[in-house]
């Protein structure tokens, strides 16, 4: 974030929550007028996410079938009035499996992103701020992990930990810690140079205070954007893990697993078992991506791709 941007001023001493909220609202309405397309992208993303979140919270509003009920309907029936997305090979209603499967994938993705943020951000802040040998060493570790294909790391962890919701969350979280670390450290390094930080030091603010009151709030806008994009990534990783079969124990409805189950019936003409889970994964990931991209354009139009 640039202290000399042409938008609303950032005043170093006034970082109350109300102030931040007011600032954001100001920005949003300005954005709606200026960035027409990006604004609608953000809205679209938010709508998709809201819809899917409500699926996880109130599944009974969306379907009256239970996802494990094998007698919901005849086996392998194409989409119809009774079954909007058809039935699977055991006679379970596909739409109900989508609705109940949402909580698995969304839950894991959000929890994993939160976990990696909670670890990566503080580490990045402290490391960037303190500098020195510790910073160099930690950066090396984080860079190494970051450059390694994330999915392979997630697979290794998932395989070692075994099936289970918590284990999968950990496996996915590990992959993204370096993302937050690098982002926050980079931001910290540049903000550290700013004049107002030097001023804060001059008036005798102690280091934790500087970190918390001056650096962190300036970092947070970028973090929110990355968080959203990260959730999209985590969704794809979780779907990949369960597609491979390293995800959850059998029985819990899961989009990735249903996809891998459905492909067996494709040559028999059963297209609905893979089309819908795949579409939903794409939609959910797209929702968070649009939210993140829209936010990034609005909060900081000059944010570079990282």
């Amino acid at each position: 974030m640039n202290a000399t941007s042409s938008g609303p001023e950032i005043r170093a001493a006034k970082y109350s929550p109300a102030g931040i909220a007011a600032g954001l609202i100001r920005r949003f309405s300005a954005a709606a007028k200026r960035y027409r397309i990006e604004w609608w992208i953000l809205v679209a993303g938010a709508v998709v996410i809201a819809a899917i979140v409500s699926m996880t919270l109130f599944p009974h509003l969306f379907t009256h079938f239970r996802p494990e009920d094998m007698n919901a309907g005849p086996q392998m029936k194409p989409p119809s009035a009774a079954h909007l997305m058809g039935t699977d090979n055991l006679g379970r209603d596909v739409w109900s499996r989508i609705v109940y499967g949402a909580r698995t994938i969304l839950g894991v993705a959000i929890a994993a992103s939160l976990a990696s943020a909670l670890i990566g951000i503080p580490l990045g802040l402290v490391s960037g701020f303190s500098g020195g040998l510790g910073d160099k060493a930690l950066s090396l570790v984080m860079d190494s992990i970051y450059s390694f294909p994330g999915l392979i790391l997630a697979i290794a962890f998932a395989a070692m930990l075994g099936p289970g919701v918590i284990n999968i969350t950990v496996a996915v979280a590990v992959v993204y810690v370096p993302t937050y670390f690098r982002l926050v450290r980079g931001q910290t390094l540049s903000i550290k140079q700013e004049l107002y930080v030097e001023a804060a030091h001059a008036i005798g603010a102690r280091r934790p205070t500087v970190l918390a009151k001056y650096i962190f709030p300036n970092v947070i806008a970028t973090v929110v954007v990355v968080f959203s994009l990260n959730i999209a990534d985590a969704i794809m990783t979780e779907a990949a893990l369960s597609y491979i079969g390293l995800g959850l124990p059998a029985g819990m409805p899961d989009w990735g697993m249903d996809l891998s189950m459905g492909k067996k019936f494709l040559p028999s003409g059963v297209w609905w078992m893979i089309t819908y889970p795949g579409l939903m994964i794409m939609l959910l990931a797209l929702g968070f991506t649009m939210l993140g991209e829209g936010l990034s354009e609005i909060l900081n139009p000059r944010l570079q791709e990282y």
């Binding site: 494990e68 055991l90 124990p249 059998a250 189950m261 067996k264 019936f265 494709l266």
Partner: protein, 516 residues
């Protein structure tokens, strides 16, 4: 544009070349996997299939039947008490590495199986006391007792096949042919294995030294597929000529309707059942085994998972085999939630304190349907609110280790015949030593005595009575719970003939041929 055209032209050329080639080479697709290339330790259908084509036993089945005929032995005699078999071997035969085939090699091979104590070794040690070399071409088997189906044991089971002592190590198992002296498999059968790439291909070429008639098809390539769907498509597109084990039920229905393919449905004694670890796990208590057995709903399983292509089975002895009864139907029933609730509440389980256990399956060894089978069973068992099931899975190699190590309290298993006799479907799970080999660890002196009696009785009446009694006792002990009996399907292109698979489920590749 030009590049695309060249590619299509090349593809077309390949197609033509491929079709012309098909006449002397048959490509056989399967989703099974080879385990270990050692007849003393391999105990799965597919690996045995290969052995049954590159090796031979002293006797063999006439292709497509269960009639035993001479093979490496020209003839045999039995002594009066029925416990000594003398085989007179063919002269002048050589293994593909040049080693002469003599009575010495027969004894060496049997001794090796008995010494190494692999999984299938009970098929030898249970019945054979010792092997004596009478002279170069005469060998005598001294049995543990009179065994009416001994010729069947010798005919179909690779542990009885003679191996070349110059190739196989005497003191340990081998896994890959590369570990053999000379690096290749060696045998006396109609084919020899000329290429082995695990999980990719096995190439079999006709063996010029085979004593019998040469196979019609000179080269067979076994192609290993990762999943049934790809294999089905490969068959439809003509990329493979034959597909055997294990297609999905939906693929089977579709392929059976395809006019360009032949369908061979083999009413086979292939059974699937639930096993319990009876010595240390929660299922030590036979009442718990009964409760879970009662909850299984066979018609629902055969319909949901197999689209009606399998039949509910109510005894470990398959339908169509001698002495088959349906005791489980009357004793425990299907989806008998009431009975299960009665047993479990008597044992102190409640809705808040349910009986919880792990149910295991293996995801590929028996086909892709296992996941569904696990799901459906879980649903059926949990219809009784006093039970909670956690479904787990492990690949076959790990699965075997786990049941040998008593790590799975309840697990799904399947069985193909080693020899066509009800003994193979009962003693193999209930007789103390064999039961341990399958991870069930059931042991009862009463049952062991009954088995020993029928194994050494030459009277069909006596054996019939014993099997009736054993099947009647089975639901009470429920050490295993039979679920269904399956059919085996082979699909071939229209120009392939000669698929002859009889009750022993032996697939002789040398009978296959192309027709115009």
């Amino acid at each position: 544009m030009k590049r695309r055209f060249t590619l299509i032209a090349l593809a077309f050329a390949l197609l033509c070349a491929g079709t012309a080639w098909a006449q002397s080479t048959l490509v056989y697709g399967t989703t099974d996997k080879v385990t270990v290339m050692d007849p003393a330790s391999a105990y799965d259908q597919h690996t045995w299939d290969i052995f049954q084509n590159i090796d031979r036993g002293l006797l063999a089945y006439e292709p497509g039947t269960d009639k035993v005929v001479p093979a490496l032995a020209e003839r045999y005699t039995i002594n009066k008490t029925g416990d000594e078999y003398t085989f007179y071997l063919r002269h002048g035969l050589k293994f593909t590495d040049g080693t002469p085939f003599t009575a010495e090699t027969v004894k060496w091979s049997i001794d090796r199986v008995m010494a190494l104590k692999g999984d299938p070794s009970w098929l030898v040690t249970q019945f054979v006391k010792e092997v004596q070399v009478v002279d170069d071409y005469t060998v005598k088997f001294i049995l543990t007792g009179p065994t009416p189906y001994f010729p069947a044991l010798v005919a179909g089971n690779p542990p009885y096949f003679p191996l070349s002592p110059n190739v196989y190590p005497a003191d340990h198992f081998i896994t890959n042919p590369s570990e053999l002296k000379g690096g290749a498999l060696v045998g006396l059968g109609p084919y020899k294995c000329t290429s082995f790439k695990r999980d990719e291909e096995v190439v079999l070429d006709a063996n010029p030294d085979y004593y019998g008639p040469q196979p019609h098809i000179k080269r067979i390539i076994i192609r290993y597929f990762d999943d049934a769907t790809t294999m089905r498509l490969a068959l439809e597109r003509g990329e493979i000529d034959l597909a055997y084990k294990t297609l999905n039920p939906s693929d089977i229905s579709d392929l059976a309707k395809n006019p360009k393919l032949n369908t061979f449905k083999i009413a086979s004694p292939f059974i699937r059942f639930l096993c319990f670890e009876c010595s240390q796990s929660v299922f030590k208590n036979k009442e718990l085994r009964q409760a879970i057995g009662a909850l299984v709903n066979r018609p629902e399983i055969t319909q949901k998972v197999f689209l009606g292509q399998a039949q509910p089975l109510y005894s470990m002895v398959p339908m169509g085999m001698a002495y088959h009864e349906n005791n489980f139907k009357a004793a425990l029933g299907d989806g008998n939630v009431k009975l299960a609730e009665k047993i479990l509440s008597k044992l102190g389980y409640t809705k808040d304190n349910p009986f919880a256990f792990d149910l295991w399956y293996t995801p590929t060894h028996y086909g892709d349907t296992e996941v569904n089978l696990g799901d459906v069973l879980k649903q059926e068992i949990e219809r009784c609110p006093l039970v909670k099931v956690t479904v787990k899975s492990a690949e076959w190699a790990t699965y075997k280790q786990q049941f040998n190590n008593k790590q799975m309290p309840a697990y799904l298993l399947g069985w193909y015949p080693d020899y066509v006799d009800p003994d193979d479907y009962t003693a193999a799970f209930a007789q103390t030593d064999a039961s341990a080999g399958e991870g069930i660890y059931f042991s009862s002196k009463k049952w062991d005595d009954l088995f020993t009696k029928e194994q050494h009785s030459l009277s069909p009446k006596v054996r019939g009575e014993i099997f009736k009694e054993i099947q009647a006792m089975w639901p009470d002990e429920s050490l295993t719970v039979p679920i269904f009996q399956g059919n085996l399907y082979i699909f071939t292109r229209k120009n392939v003939e000669g698929v002859k698979i009889g009750p022993p489920l032996i697939f002789n590749y040398d009978q296959l041929r192309f027709v115009k």
